[in-house]
């Protein structure tokens, strides 16, 4: 039995497959040998010319070639696919240092951030946030706060009037008066009142005819001045760093009695004395006191039964101190180069101990 034809085909295939370098040629080669009219299929057709005893051996030899060719082609296919993938990956390689598609982020205003931080602290202590009118009546802006028309302290805050009785609020305190009034003499009252306020100041680096204020008010039975001190101490430590201390200095506000100014130990120099604290080691940051009995009474609370404390601070001033902002007008010109510096969140890490 002559099987030389079989070996010839196998040799020819082995030679041919070596030269194949792409998927398409390999497919052609596959068809050339294993296709319906292929060379290996052609060998099978020889079978009929063989004797019965030769047929099994011949068949086995052809099958061996077929399976040899099949496996070589499969192997080759894998190699070619790997090569093709590698080439594609190589081709698709990009410069990862180029910028990503921009999804530009906006930035919160530094005053909003400051106000939100302060709000969140007091919400944690059980306070609610109350807002009020920016255009107020003389009654709520002054009289209900123990500032009758003849009161000399009205000189302290020259105001923008629209008519004899209507003005832009000079502080957020009218919100306190309105909040108390709405409570109809029933405590507890625990509110934080943030908002814009207006005073007749010429705009310069340290004055603005419009600025922001946050006030807090607590009214209940048995509220002590020590509660005010404790609350503000906690606030100072939370907002300006765990090592901050506070100092109360007697002062005067018509709506509180006793009244105090509250200083915190300087968060920049830690009390050593620097330009932020004007070398005193202390920064004046809050005005506060025990709610004046006249204020309680006018708002419908019995001053024998109830007492309370109130405090107020300026987010503009706090943000200026904290970030070293040199000009209050920067808050109101809305230069993106300014606002966008306040984009990233702060988490009270070790860079800054404040807010």
């Amino acid at each position: 039995m002559d099987t030389s034809g079989i070996s010839e085909i196998q040799n020819a295939f082995d030679d041919a497959v070596k030269t194949v370098s792409d998927k398409r040629s390999l497919q052609d080669l596959k068809v050339e040998y294993l296709g319906k009219k292929g060379k290996v299929t052609g060998l099978m057709k020889e079978m009929k010319n063989l004797s019965n005893e030769d047929r099994p051996a011949y068949g086995a030899a052809v099958n061996e070639v077929r399976s040899h060719i099949t496996s070589v082609i499969e192997e080759k296919e894998t190699v070619l696919a790997d090569q093709a993938l590698e080439a594609r990956l190589k081709e698709e390689t990009i410069d990862v240092s180029l910028p990503g598609r921009i999804f530009r982020l906006g930035s919160p205003h530094p005053l909003s951030r400051t106000i939100e931080d302060i709000e969140d602290f007091f919400i944690g202590l059980g306070y609610e946030i109350a807002e009020g009118y920016e255009v107020e009546t003389d009654y709520f802006n002054f009289e209900a706060l123990n500032l009758p028309k003849s009161h000399p302290a009205r000189d302290m805050q020259d105001s923008f009037y629209f008519s004899e009785d209507i003005l832009l609020r000079t502080h957020t305190s009218p919100v306190q008066a309105r909040t108390m009034q709405a409570k109809k003499g029933q405590g507890p009252v625990k509110v934080i009142c943030p908002g814009k306020v207006y005073r007749r100041d010429s705009d310069d680096a340290t004055h603005s005819h419009q600025f922001t204020q946050i006030e807090g008010l607590v009214v209940d039975r048995n509220i002590h001045m020590s509660d005010l001190k404790g609350t503000l101490e906690l606030f100072a430590k939370e907002m300006f760093g765990p090592d901050r201390e506070i100092r109360l200095r007697p002062s005067y506000f018509p709506f509180t009695e006793p009244s105090v100014e509250v200083d915190i130990s300087c968060f920049k120099c830690k009390g050593a004395g620097c330009n932020v604290c004007k070398r005193s080691g202390w920064i004046e940051i809050l005005g506060s006191g025990m709610v004046h009995p006249n204020v309680l009474e006018m708002a419908g609370f019995d001053p024998d039964e109830y007492s309370g404390f109130a405090f107020g601070m300026g987010p503009d001033r706090i943000a200026m101190l904290k970030y070293g902002i040199e000009d209050i007008r920067n808050f109101y010109t809305n230069d993106l180069r300014f606002i966008n510096q306040f984009k990233a969140m702060e988490d009270g890490g070790d860079q800054s101990e404040s807010i």
Binding site: P108, G124, G126, V135, K196, Y252, L336
Partner: protein
Amino acid sequence: MKVSKEWLNEWIPVDVSIDELSEKITRGGIEVDEVIDYTEGIKNLVVGYVESVEQHPEADRLKVCRVNTGEETSQIVCGAPNVRADSYVIVSKVGGRLPGGIKIKRAKLRGQVSEGMICSLEELGIPEDHVPKEYQDGIFIFNRDQNIGTDALSALYLDDQVMDFDLTPNRKDALSMAGAAYETRALFGGEVSRPGSPLTEHRDNGGNGFSIKNEDADAVPYYGARLVKNVEIKPAPVWMQIRLIKAGIRPINNVVDISNYVLLEFGQPLHMFDRDKIGSDAIVTRFAAQDEKITTLDGKERSLMDSDIVITNGKDPIALAGVMGGDFSEVTQSTTNILIESALFNPVSIRKTSNRLNLRSEASARFEKGVSHEFVLEALDRAAYLLEKYAGGRVTGKVMSDGELDLENSEITVTAEFINNRLGMDLSVAEIAESLSRLGLGTKTDGGTLNISIPSRRDDLKIREDITEEVARIYGYDALPSSLPEYSMITPGKLTDEQKKVRIIRHQLEALGLSQAINYALTSREKSKQFTDRTEGLELLMPMSEDHAVLRNSMIPHLVDNAVYNANRQQKDVQLYELGRVFVSRGEGNQPEEIEMLGGILTGEMNHTDWLGTSVPADFYTAKGIADSLFEKLGLSDSISYRQTEGYEEMHPGRTADIHLGGEKIGFAGELHPKYAEDNDLNRTAVFEINIDRLLDVKNGIIVYEQLSKYPTITRDVALIVERSVTADELIQTIWTAADKYLEDVFVFDVYEGDNVAEGMKSLALRLTYLNKEQTLTDEEIEAVHTPVLKALEEGGAAIR
């Protein structure tokens, strides 16, 4: 109030440094704003005696002086016109220092040796406007003999530091040396010694023949006066002059200076009349008649109002009470007989008068806060005594007066329990009484109750809370413990739904690339009329400037300003939002309606990736997309519609839409009118403004969950040719109305105008999504719904391609 330490020590000796003194006073509640140290930068300053003065041979304006400075007599060249022989002067010796880093060296001036310098007060650091006129253009000359060679600062009472008190309005008691002394006593202990007035009353011909009458006790509750005859007008002694200078008052002559000096001592303003110019033998006080005239001593004629108080001679006003004297009754160089006024005036009236006439003085500042009754007579006697001593005057007769002084101490009753409850402290009755006694307040105790006697100098203390403050203040706030409130009821601290939503809106806009702006609520009249259909804004009575004269009606004008401001600083891509109020006038005299508004502005490009050349333009659709993302977050998408509007002059008439929530207009979005943008040097710019209050009013309750459908959705695309004016919204509405079931979603996926589409027409392609949640939709079922949809579109004028 400027308080000299040297002067204070005369009232109450305190042996501490100026730093300790001012620190303790500050912690006690009177802020020491500044300490002025008159010794700073001064060395080797002595009293010299000018023995002779000769003209400098080479210079007309210079004199060559022989000056005895104690151990030696030196030659000093001096340029002052008032230098004269036989006078005592201030000499800075060679090697000496003067403020401003000036060193005195041996020098030659035009050939003449000069060993030292004869000084003016300005050269010692005293502001020119406090220097007496006679020394203003030259050197200072002592008006009494001095010890030659002694320290000149001591001789001048300038070996001293002065504290500038920044007083809160309630501390009028500290507007005097007496008040400063009592405050010092409260903080340091010791005793206050008031200056005495051992005057001699002369009975000349049985009295002074003068009467006082207050026509209106409301205007003038008390008026006291004394007559001092035969005064000699001359300079006051140096110590008095320098104390006035240190307090910020320029010395004039002995009579005026004594009046000011006593004002500083007791906080009681006085007025000195030339008795012989009063024009009658009576003082009558009253409210002025409306439009009554007076010429004040500054030579100006003033027209008065019936709230002003005048001192008259029974006929004509001779002084504007507490504010300024009249011209003809003023003390002059030739005055010999003086009437001293010491009175109480209605504080509110004084404040109104001095404000209206813009005449603020040391006197009016005290009267308008109310002066203490207890010093009225003491000050009157003191001034009479000083006139006797330093002006050679003869105090004639007794005090003449009309009205009542309230010299009884008032009383406040308070319990220790009350004070301790308000403070959160645990002070004993004795500790409280001790704190109060340091303030000079007498206390009687009865068990836990304290009865506190309040002298009139502390008439700011009226209620028990005032006492609580004085106790805390003197005891020291450092001793106050720290605690947290124990509430009668626990209530949660949280944001309201509306407050939460506002925060979410802000954070979302920032995530979309808009930064937050804060603008002024006050704007110009012109801007108040832009981007609004309101023609009136609420106007200030007295605006500070035209730019801030009226309340804003829209957020957009200032946001445009912000965009321009940034564009001028190389920031071409600007995306800003602002949350704030606009104000709708309800007429003068009423509070306006305040509406919380969201304004936004987009100019340049958004999300611009340069190297890819991709970006989002600042056009109508971007503004709308941003607004829609907010409506989606608030769950309001289904209630929102946009309606084309030409209602804003500043907006592009073809690219602006009013935003409606349900049936109500809540804002607008669009592109700036090209002309308006150009006028502001802006390129294409989109803006939006939304009434946030209206958005927040809508309560959405809870999210309703729906199970996911197991069955597939089927889509059908429809291509239509319609007239250009037909809006996508109209077609979508037609489709929704026509489909009776299964329709889940419709959206436009292509819009085309141009080739193959007739002029005035456009091609729109819409995709409709159908779903049956119960089972898979069959073709027949879809056709049953879809066919009427197509029919409705055709009936509406659309051609289906």
